[in-house]
């Protein structure tokens, strides 16, 4: 079937900001799809509000709209661009929802836009619970029986039909509280009774419980000619009950016979055909561990996190193929990009084992409930490949960067065996480590299986790892390390095949990591690299995609071209997101353009950087010293780029340099100078640049002494961190005492940084330095005041309220610091401004999370330039001047996006600890319109009028009153508790009084829960303790989707936005290319030749 007739311009909708459950995988899928469509000669119009993505680069699509993903905005773009077709299945659930909304509201029909790929009807069939059930029943595919019961009798009747166990969920309760699993009639009576009482509408949902069943997924692709393939299957190590995004997953399945596999594969094909999907989809099954029974759990009629994983696990580019199917091509017509000879109609065969391990944010959300269930909580994931399951598992663990290099969690050592036994019952992020510890303690596998329902196969594999620990230690007792020789080499090889890290062995054997490495080298226990080729070596493939394994032969033959290694940023986590992947990708591209072979090392399956055709070579490996050194020894690159992979890569700089590896750009010493508190202070003193007063305290006493000297409030945080982990503002001695005692471990090696907290405006600069010249593309100004983490702030670009002298000072400081540090590459500087004084908060000689944002809105290819500088080229070579560029004639606003809805018991008060998971961009001709777009893009639904629940901290009351008065003039009414209510009444503003929590009803929570509040304005006194009024109120706001503003500055911006909107100003969409075009006529400093791909 040829391409569909009359298709020339295609609109693609992205997935917007990174939130839990919808992350970088859609940048990967979207970028691949846009490239695929352009390959077929299409013009691509892209809408996505996320600036940190590769897909929103002006080179990826012909017109890029960084506009809010809201139907009214997209409709305007459609009206303007008049695309022929819309491809909705590449932007996650967001993209799909937009497409459905646009189709249902008639916009697509009105402008003659064809919905491409999977038809709307198929999407409905897959997404609507009842339609899905009907469809499955019509083709004889089983769906778990369920019903809604409003009485005990009805529940009993259902149980009579289907038997036990049954899951009971009360309808419409927060977090499903009051539910449970009933194993018999008595339990059902109790749980349903309780559930009916708890449910506000007196209903419970009953469903057959499949707890303990195997969870198996299939990635399926179908074209319009009804050709179908499955790309791969995956088995969740965690049985049914944990969201697959929170499960450890292995590909291919390990415990299924061919018969079971083919049974489910055939069912998956039958389902995709019945739904009529044209493109990719994911089918999840629950399979009985003791029989052939299975149930269809869910179908995602689009590319997904699982499809990204399947693509990386197999080498099969699902999104690319799905996009081509969308414009009418069939699978046999699409060329297989791996072989270039065969077609996309094939099923990959793996000759390795893949493990996906989720990365959870509990290191940042310390008060969050760590229990895992049906609500996904992971922010990202890692993938590891090896020829053994054990190897892949241990590699995955060390890829996570959670301070572990194997299956041993230190805190479990102190627990008694009985406690471990109890702990096994807890289904949380640490269960696999508890399982390992249980085996170490000799708890029988039968007991572990009974408690966890994890298949014996997986338990036995982990047991093999534990047994190897014992074997190694026994050998050490028999033969002292100094006498280890060829006889031990075989044992060591087996240990390395099972993925033991040198660092882990070092602790196990009591010798240094280096000694183990050297011993291995001497005895020939060295890794080999194997290719991921989709076909288990059956056909010759040119995929430059490798993983390490301790096997006999090596597939990777390094070329003799000059090459550079780019270290990626590992899993997406809070504080280190997709921005760094953007940077890594651009660095690789710049290296290629400069004539180098670009080699990427990374372990994140969701990203563009781990697409096999992004770099010249991809090593899918953990980012540890050992693993990276192995690759360096193999490839012998000219140097290593560490500036773009976030803290992950920066942390590797010093140990790699110590092993004689050349770090390109800013030296390791300069990195240390910027990160070491004392050295940095001395450095600034020497330059005469003021810094916020601070001290690196190595003990509680030291911190207290300093506090007494300069006074409160203080900002406290551990040293060497990213994303402000465990940062806090303390207001008095007892808070400081509590922080030092409980929040951080203070040692001379790990001091706590104590800074004077300045409540001024924060300003941020990203600059490029070639050692002689410093290019500053612009200055960002934060809307939230200092103390809110820069990653959580609304950020305006270019700066809007700085005076000329402040700007000059910022530029001067930035220049002198960059040059003084000897920085070569990127530098990020954060300032705080108090009156006339400009203080330096910190300097990071590396890519920051704002680099994609600034690059995008200025058109300055910052990463490419920085990479060129690292290779020895000069900014002047590309016609760039020294200093600050002229500001563009439009304003961009970066807004943070949070995933609090997914996390129970997390205080959303925006303090200095970063909590956002993603960001969006608002771009328009003036600041207020840009802010408005950013707020809408970030998910805020601002009404023209409504009710504001305001509770202001005492310190904010004076300033807050004026603001509320203006809101009142707009037509807003108010609710408040005693203090703020008094304030409003005394100013003559009518207010409805509410009780504080626990003082009577109606209280603030009642008002929020009953839907009476349209906007919550709550400036917190201080956070952390969950019992406080504010915490519960903000939590409820999140759960009930009420916009919540916690700073007066944001409230003021919102006010202006609403005033604008009331004045009836219609916002026009312009593409990024159109904005840049305008800027180009103003700015003189665009690239003279195509640096960017």
């Amino acid at each position: 079937m040829p391409k569909a007739e009359g298709l020339r311009r295609i609109m693609v909708i992205g997935s917007g900001p990174i939130v839990i459950g919808q992350a970088a995988e859609f940048d990967y899928a979207g970028t691949q799809a846009c490239k695929a469509l352009k390959e077929e000669g299409m013009e691509v119009i892209l809408v996505n509000s996320n600036p940190a993505t590769i897909m929103t680069d002006p080179e990826v699509a012909d017109a890029v709209y960084l506009e809010p993903l809201e139907p009214e905005f997209i409709a305007r773009i459609i009206e303007k661009e008049r695309p022929d077709g819309l491809l909705p299945t590449l932007g996650g659930q967001t993209g799909l929802n937009m497409a459905v909304a646009l189709a249902e509201s008639g916009v697509l029909e009105k402008f003659g836009v064809r919905l491409l790929g999977t038809p709307l009807e198929s999407i409905r069939k897959a997404e609507d619970r009842d339609l899905f059930k009907q469809t499955m029943e019509s083709i004889g595919e089983p769906v778990a029986e369920s019903t809604i019961a409003d009485s005990l009798a009805a529940a009993f009747e259902f149980a009579e039909q289907i038997g036990y166990p049954i899951i009971v969920r009360p309808a419409f309760t927060l977090g499903g509280s009051g539910g449970g699993i009933a194993n018999n009639k008595d339990e059902l009576r109790e749980i349903v009774g309780r559930g009916l009482k708890n449910s506000p509408i007196k209903q419970v949902l009953l469903e057959r419980s499949l707890a303990g069943w195997k969870e198996i997924e299939y990635e399926v692709i179908r074209d319009a000619a009804d050709n179908c393939i499955t790309v791969c299957n995956m088995e969740n190590i965690d049985p049914i009950g944990i969201h697959t995004g929170d499960s450890i997953v292995v590909a291919p399945s390990q415990t299924l016979t061919d018969k079971e596999h083919q049974m489910l594969r055939s069912a998956a094909l039958k389902i995709i055909r019945a739904l009529g999907i044209e493109g990719g989809c994911n089918v999840q099954f629950a399979l009985s561990p003791t029989g052939f029974e299975y149930y269809v759990i869910e179908v995602n009629p689009r590319v997904s996190r699982s499809s990204a994983l399947a693509s990386k696990a197999t080498g099969y580019p699902i999104a690319k193929v799905a996009a081509k199917i969308g414009i009418g091509l069939t699978l046999p017509e699409i060329t297989n990009p791996i072989t270039q000879k065969t077609t996309a109609f094939f099923e990959p065969s793996l000759d390795y084992c893949v493990i996906k391990f989720p990365r959870w944010p509990f290191d940042k959300f310390t008060t969050a409930n760590r229990t895992l269930g049906t609500q996904m909580k992971a922010t990202g994931e890692v993938m590891a490949i090896d020829r053994t399951f054990e190897g892949a598992l241990q590699k995955a663990v060390r890829s996570l960067e959670i301070g572990l290099d194997g299956l041993q969690l230190d805190k479990l050592k102190d627990l008694s065996t009985e406690q471990i036994r109890q702990q096994l019952k807890v289904v949380d992020d640490e269960r696999i480590f508890v399982l390992a510890e249980a085996l170490r303690r000799g708890i029988p596998r039968e007991e572990i299986h009974q408690i966890t329902a994890i298949d014996y196969w997986f338990i036995d594999r982990i047991h093999k790892i534990i047994q190897m620990e014992t074997t190694l230690q026994e050998r050490l007792r028999a033969v002292p390390w100094t006498s280890w020789g060829p006889a031990e080499a075989e044992l060591m090889a087996r240990a390395k095949q099972m993925g033991f890290a040198d660092s882990y062995l070092s602790r196990l054997l009591g010798v240094s990591e280096l000694a183990i490495r050297e011993w291995r080298s001497e005895h020939g226990v060295l890794p080999k690299y194997k290719m991921v080729d989709t076909c288990a070596a059956e056909y010759e493939a040119a995929t430059p995609y490798f993983y390490s394994t301790y096997d006999q032969h090596d597939d990777a033959r390094p070329s003799d071209r000059p090459k550079v290694l780019v270290l990626g940023s590992g899993p997406i986590r809070i504080g280190q997101g997709i921005e760094f992947d953007y940077c890594s990708v651009h660095s690789a591209w710049a290296l290629q353009e400069a004539g180098y072979e670009a080699i990427i090392v990374n372990n994140n399956p969701e990203t563009v950087s781990t697409d096999f055709d992004t770099s010249d070579r991809l090593y899918f490996e953990p980012l540890t010293v050992e693993d990276v050194l192995n690759i360096i020894e193999k490839e012998k690159p000219e140097g290593v780029v560490v500036q773009f992979g976030g803290q992950t890569a920066i942390n590797l700089a010093a140990p790699l340099a110590a092993r004689g590896v050349r770090i390109l750009g800013t030296s390791v010493d300069s990195i240390d100078l910027a990160e070491d508190r004392e050295r940095f202070e001395a450095f600034l003193r020497r330059l005469g640049i003021p810094q916020t007063e601070g001290k690196a305290a190595t003990s509680l006493e030291e911190a207290m002494g300093f506090a007494l000297k300069i006074g409160f409030p203080l900002m406290v945080r551990p040293s060497y961190v990213l994303g402000g982990r465990a940062m806090e503002i303390v207001h008095n001695e007892s808070e400081l005492y509590e922080y030092m005692k409980t929040a951080v471990k203070v040692t001379p090696d790990h001091p706590v940084l104590v800074d004077r907290y300045i409540s001024g405006m924060e300003v941020e600069v990203d600059a490029i330095c070639d050692g002689e010249q410093v290019l500053i593309p612009g200055i960002m100004e934060h809307i939230e005041r200092a103390g809110v983490h820069s990653g959580d702030s609304y950020s305006l670009f270019p700066h809007q309220s700085l005076t000329k002298s402040q700007v000059e000072r910022i530029v001067d400081y930035t220049r002198r610091m960059a040059l003084g540090l000897g920085a070569v590459g990127l530098v990020n500087v954060q300032f705080v401004i108090e009156g006339d004084r400009v203080y330096v908060i910190e300097v990071n000689p590396r890519a920051s999370r704002t680099v994609p944002f600034v690059s995008k809105v200025t058109g300055v290819p910052m990463v490419a330039l920085a990479t060129r500088c690292m290779l020895g080229e000069k900014l002047a070579d590309y016609g760039y001047p020294d200093g600050l560029l002229e500001p563009p004639p439009y304003v961009s606003v970066k807004a943070p996006v949070f995933s609090f809805e997914k996390m129970n018991a997390v205080d959303i008060f925006l303090g200095p600890e970063m909590k956002s998971t993603g960001e969006v961009l608002g771009i328009d001709e003036n600041a207020d319109a840009a802010i408005y777009k950013a707020v809408v893009a970030a998910g805020g639904r601002m009404a023209d009028r409504g009710t504001i629940l305001a509770t202001l901290a005492d310190k904010d009351k004076a300033e807050g009153l004026e603001l509320l008065r203006s809101f009142a003039e707009l037509g807003y009414s108010f609710m408040a508790t005693s203090g703020t209510a008094d304030l409003l009444e005394s100013a003559g503003i009518p207010v409805q009084r509410l009780f504080k929590i626990g003082e009577g009803h109606p209280d603030v929570l009642d008002a929020i829960k009953e839907g009476k509040v349209d906007l919550l304005l709550n400036t917190p006194t201080r956070g952390k303790i969950p019992e406080r009024n504010g915490f519960q109120m903000r939590r409820a706001a999140v759960e009930f989707r009420v916009p919540c503003i916690t700073s007066l500055d944001t409230a003021a911006a919102m006010l202006r936005v609403l005033q604008e909107r009331k004045a009836g100003r219609a916002l026009q969409p312009y593409s990024l290319q159109e904005y840049l075009q305008r800027f180009q006529s103003v700015g003189k400093y665009r690239l003279r030749h195509g640096l960017m791909v």
Partner: protein
């Protein structure tokens, strides 16, 4: 115990002995199916082969009572990266290792099977020896070179049934299956469709096969070089004119040769569960299960009688044919799956429809 796999070109792969200890020679091939080792080992088409499984973890789900394709193991040896000694599956009755021992089959584990498969891909499948006896590599390579290539032997006569038997006594069409090394899966597919299934030896006389006036005949799959199975080709020539016929695997090759095709050995064969096949008339594509080392091709002249109906999307080889005038069709791949995808089971339905249609005509 240590073991070594030595190929006739002198390359050696070291590992650990599994299954029976000792020495075995055969044609070293690789199979890319990630599941289905039990079916592959017990498929009579595997006769003479030392099978390298490219998936590195083999034996995970043990051996069960139902998935046999014949009574025992037909492969001569097995090469794996890692053998699982603690399988987990509700149907598992035995360890793969124990099953190998019971069947006197030698194997080797711990081999870099990817390197071996690459070697076979580049240099073609070749003779080899697995040995857990201490002999030099040179000696073993010499021995490998001096053993006959299994496909030069008449492998079919070693695997075909000695006596005719009735596998299923359904009320549907009466189908005679000529056993060139038939898989249980083929017989099951027919039985499930209600056929009366009578299995006869490959060396049967046409008149014996036709004696009970069957509604159709199935030429089964089997091992080796089709040209060695001259009696099979002869049968095909005669029976084609007498009854509707479906051919699978070796059966397809025999029917094709009878129609004037030429057969040839593939460099490294097609063995796996992921081979893409396109039906030429409709453009529809199917993922198929394959297990063969030989293929057929038709010249202009032979195409007067035969239509090539299916081709392999990877290498363009012939995957299926149909006679222009007679109710005869055959496919190179395995519509019965076991192991592998079930995409092509419709071919059995098509065969049965043909039987019905021919029946009406008669």
């Amino acid at each position: 115990m240590k073991a070594v796999l030595v190929l006739e070109d002198g390359s050696a792969y070291y590992g650990t002995a599994i299954g029976k200890r000792g020495e075995v020679h055969g044609e070293v091939v690789f199979n890319t199916s990630m599941t289905g080792y039990q079916e592959i080992l017990t498929d009579p088409s595997s006769s003479g082969a030392i099978i390298t499984m490219t998936y590195p973890l083999i034996g995970n789900y043990g051996i069960n009572a139902d998935d046999f394709q014949s009574r025992g193991i037909h492969a001569r040896g097995i090469v794996v990266r890692e053998l699982c000694f603690s399988p987990s599956n509700w149907r598992s009755r035995d360890l793969l290792n124990a099953f190998l021992v019971e069947n006197d089959v030698c194997g080797i584990a711990g081999v870099d099977t990817r390197a071996l498969s690459r070697h076979l891909r580049e240099h073609g499948t070749m003779r080899g020896i697995i040995s857990s006896v201490e002999v030099s590599v040179e000696e073993l390579a010499e021995r490998a070179r001096s053993t006959p290539l299994p496909s030069d032997e008449d492998l079919v006569s070693q695997v075909t049934t000695e006596k005719a038997y009735v596998y299923a006594d359904g009320n549907g069409p009466d189908v005679v299956v000529i056993d060139f090394g038939v898989k249980e899966g083929i017989l099951r597919a027919l039985a499930q469709r209600g056929c009366r299934v009578r299995v006869v030896p490959a060396t049967s006389k046409p008149e014996d096969i036709l004696a009970e006036r069957p509604d159709g005949i199935l030429f089964s799959s089997g091992p080796g070089d089709p040209q060695r199975c001259t009696y099979g080709i002869d049968l095909a020539r005669v029976l084609m004119k007498e009854a509707p016929i479906m051919g699978i695997g070796l059966g397809h090759q025999l029917l094709s040769l009878a129609c004037g095709a030429r057969s040839y050995k593939l460099k490294h064969g097609h063995r796996g569960a992921n081979h893409p096949v396109q039906e030429i008339e409709t453009g529809r594509a199917y993922i198929t299960s394959q297990n063969h080392g030989f293929a057929v091709e038709f010249d202009e002249a032979s195409l007067a009688d035969v239509i090539v109906t299916h081709k392999n999307l990877n290498d363009g080889t012939v995957e299926g044919m149909r006679h222009r005038h007679l109710p005869v069709f055959s496919v190179q791949y395995h519509p019965e799956a076991a192991p592998g995808p079930e995409d092509s089971t419709y071919l059995f339905d098509r065969f049965l429809q043909q039987l019905a249609a021919t029946g009406v005509d008669a």
